[in-house]
């Protein structure tokens, strides 16, 4: 009986969330044991986010490389289904993400909700691209000779993504979804100041049939995490969206060492605007496969 009276007198103490990284389909803390304070736009404490180390970055690359073969080899139809599944999972957690985005970016409830809706719709948009991009950017070439050849796009491999600093969720998804839609795997560095929506996205991805390691989310100091990734010999490309000018140049120089594909930072006025296909083609290779047709064979017996 006394329990009941206590409950009515004291407000319920909420359960804080321990935010963790998302690497290889698991949720580790930073191996360094470090965290940093994340605050809202007014400077109020929200949570402690893991402060990833170089080792975390390297672990994420190992996970992304391990996942690459399976993800790149999955059918485009299957990848599209999974990207759509991400949208489904997010739809069910709109409220949570609207709160997190509002806190992270200091937006009103309605504007944060609009940003989350746009983010969900972005997953749907890219879900529809997985089985179309090859037809748009590949094709048969009219060779002047007795040959048949086809050019097809293929994912470039492991892509490091420096998520935009200003748009913690819509911007994040706008740079991550195109990378994985085409079959690459990603090591993502969340917005340094507002990493929480990105870390929560990991929980959504983990329950969306996305194979572990396809997307790996790290939080911490962007420059510290990005440096070893830019020079990592097993990373094939880097998207510098979240780097300032000085950092971008430094990372681009490091990236030249194994000729990574580099997407330089581009000014984005409105993350909600319909993206073109550039963010997908930036991380695609074109493979041209030739074969004789025999159709012009001089001997008449070439086929």
């Amino acid at each position: 009986m006394s329990d009941k009276s206590e409950k009515t007198e004291q407000p319920r103490l909420s359960v804080f969330k321990t935010y963790k990284l998302y690497v290889g389909g698991k949720f580790p803390r930073s191996e360094s044991g470090r965290v940093y304070e994340v605050t809202d736009a007014q400077g109020r404490w929200l949570a402690n986010a893991p402060q990833s180390s170089r080792k975390d970055a390297r672990d994420a690359v190992v996970a992304a490389r391990k996942a690459f073969g399976g993800w790149a080899g999955a059918t485009a139809y299957n990848r599209g289904q999974i990207l759509y599944r991400v949208a489904e999972m997010l739809e069910g957690r709109r409220g949570q993400f609207a709160r997190e985005v509002a806190d992270a970016e200091g937006l009103s409830k309605s504007r944060a909700a609009a940003a989350v809706d746009a983010t969900i719709d972005r997953w749907v948009w890219y879900a529809g691209w997985t089985d179309k991009i090859a037809q748009v950017v590949g094709g048969g070439n009219p060779v002047a000779g007795p040959y048949f050849n086809l050019s097809s796009p293929e994912p470039t491999g492991v892509v490091t993504v420096l998520a935009p600093q200003d748009s913690s969720f819509l911007g994040l998804v706008s740079v991550v979804a195109p990378v994985i839609a085409t079959g690459n795997t990603a090591v993502v560095i969340a917005s340094e100041r507002s990493p929480l929506p990105a870390l929560s996205l990991g929980e959504v991805l983990a329950t969306s049939d996305l194979p572990g390691g396809v997307v790996n989310v790290l939080s911490g100091r962007t420059a510290e995490i990005a440096a070893p990734l830019a020079s990592h010999q097993d990373v094939n490309a880097i998207d510098l969206a979240g780097a300032d000018e000085a950092l971008a140049k430094e990372l681009e120089i490091a990236a030249a060492d194994n000729l990574k594909r580099v997407l330089r930072p581009q000014a984005v006025d409105d993350w909600a605007a319909t993206p073109g296909i550039d963010r997908m083609t930036a991380f695609l290779e074109t493979k041209t496969v030739w074969h004789p047709t025999g159709s012009l064979g001089a001997s008449g017996s070439s086929y």
Partner: protein, 482 residues
């Protein structure tokens, strides 16, 4: 056996006449539509690799000349890019036609300056050069339909640095799409092969191309470095070694210059046990001995299925014994001269390293001329993946032979290099071709053929073989603001 074949097929010499080409004793830089001396008066000599005869003395562009050429290209850019696409197209069609008209002259010139057989310049290089200009001419007024948005814009001044292995073809690969998209060009040909680019300047004159649209700056690596670093260059295109490509990528880092790189390779040519052996042998020979192996996409690693190794090697050795090495101007010559003494030294030292590391070296009986730079076609067997000759790009007529047992092993070995430019697959089984081609990390995969090129077909590398594609619709992207 080898000598029997050689004597059975003996031909009388059939040299192409040199009189179709008139090489002046000296050439200047081509800037703003005129030939001009280098600002500091420097010159260098270009020699014929097959005889070491000095062909001509060439002005050597320095930093001041680079600046002058970039300024000329910048001045020309406004009018050139504003020209209706249909008019730009006509200039390119004119260039293509003039190249066809003068192709015999240009083929002989290229053979003299480069050392490659006339059979190749006449039958491969020149037809492809003309075809590239024809192909991109047609794009100039159709850019709205190329899939890069409704009004894709040119970038501005393109700084282009090309190698010595296909001097005129690499020029065509660079200049044709640049001009079609409305850019202007400053191009640096290689120091050992500047002549055909300077003759191209004359083609531009005949075509009535506006001054400044194409500028040619012969010189060494420092000229190229100055061009790449010039602050008023908007686009850098380079074909050459991976090491230089990395240095260029570092130079343009942090700038807004768009960059494409076509770099080295160590192409795997995979022969399965059901492959048509005779055709495969022809493909292997074409893959590594075309242009003396001085080809970035050369099939320099032969991966042969263990069960047919003996049979294949026997056929291959017999075929190599019939290759004719000698005067590149002779129409019967298969193997010409190595492009330069420096390159010959590099090939020689890598081959010696191969022997020292325990690989087994073989060459057919082969007499090398006394003058000039020559290297006999060479095979290495007993090669492992760790050997230098299986890892480093030799850029010469040297084939390393490795074996495999299963398709998976073939794929794993083929992909086991930092390069990713080309590969070959030989098998009669269609599903195997498609499955293996799918798994190879290479920009071009030739199945049951090798070393085929066409202006409609994108060409370029994965991994450290560079980025961007040349040829086809894809080749336009490098020169458009997209």
């Amino acid at each position: 056996m080898a000598s029997a074949f050689t004597s059975a097929f003996e031909y009388a010499p059939a040299p192409e006449s040199r009189s179709v080409v008139d090489i002046a004793p000296s050439y200047g830089l081509f800037i703003d539509g005129e030939f001009t001396e280098a600002a500091d008066g420097r010159v260098f000599k270009t020699v014929s690799p097959s005889t070491e005869e000095v062909l001509s003395e060439i002005a050597q562009a320095g930093e001041a000349d680079v600046d002058r050429a970039v300024k000329a290209a910048r001045r020309a850019f406004g009018a050139w890019s504003a020209l209706p696409g249909a008019e730009r197209a006509k200039y390119l069609f004119r260039i293509a036609r003039i190249i066809q008209e003068r192709s015999r002259e240009l083929a002989v010139l290229e053979t003299l300056d480069n050392g490659k057989p006339i059979r190749e310049t006449r039958d491969a290089d020149l037809p492809l050069v003309a075809a590239h200009f024809f192909y991109y001419a047609g794009w100039a007024d159709k850019l709205d339909h190329a899939g890069f948005g409704s009004s894709p814009k040119p970038l501005g001044v393109a700084g282009q640095v090309i190698p010595w292995n296909f001097p005129l073809l690499m020029l065509a690969w660079k200049i044709a799409p640049a001009l079609a998209t409305g850019n202007t060009v400053v191009l640096k040909p290689a120091e050992t092969t500047p002549l055909s680019a300077l003759f191209f300047a004359d083609v531009c004159r005949q075509a009535g191309l506006p001054r400044g649209v194409v500028n040619i700056l012969p010189g060494y690596g420092d000229t190229g470095a100055a061009l790449v670093a010039h602050p008023d260059v908007n686009k850098v295109a380079f074909t050459g070694s991976t090491a230089v490509g990395k240095a260029i990528a570092k130079t343009v880092a942090g700038s807004r210059k768009k960059l494409t790189l076509e770099l080295g390779g160590k192409g795997a040519n995979i022969v399965f046990d059901d492959a048509p052996i005779d055709q495969a042998v022809e493909g292997i020979v074409n893959g590594i001995f075309f242009n003396q192996g001085q080809v970035c996409c050369a099939g320099s690693r032969l991966l042969v299925q263990e069960s047919i190794q003996e049979e294949l090697l026997e056929s291959l050795k017999r075929r190599l014994s019939t290759l004719r090495l000698g005067d590149p101007l002779d129409k019967n010559t298969d193997i010409g001269a190595i492009n330069s003494e420096e390159q010959l030294t590099r090939i020689t030292s890598l081959v010696e390293q191969g022997e020292a590391e325990g690989a087994e070296r073989w060459s057919p009986a082969c007499e090398l001329p006394n003058a000039g730079f020559w290297f006999a076609p060479t095979l290495f067997t007993n090669v492992t993946q760790a050997h230098t000759v299986a890892r480093d790009e030799i850029f010469g007529p040297v084939l390393s032979v490795l074996t495999f047992r299963t398709p998976d092993e073939a794929v794993a070995k083929a992909n086991n290099t930092p390069y990713g430019l080309s590969a070959g697959v030989w098998t009669e089984k269609g599903s195997r071709i498609l499955a293996v081609a799918n798994k190879l990390r290479a920009g071009v995969v030739w199945s049951n053929t090798f070393n085929k090129f066409d202006p409609t077909s994108p060409f370029g590398g994965y991994k450290e073989s560079g980025f961007g594609r040349e040829g086809g619709r894809h080749g336009l992207e490098a020169y458009l603001d997209v």
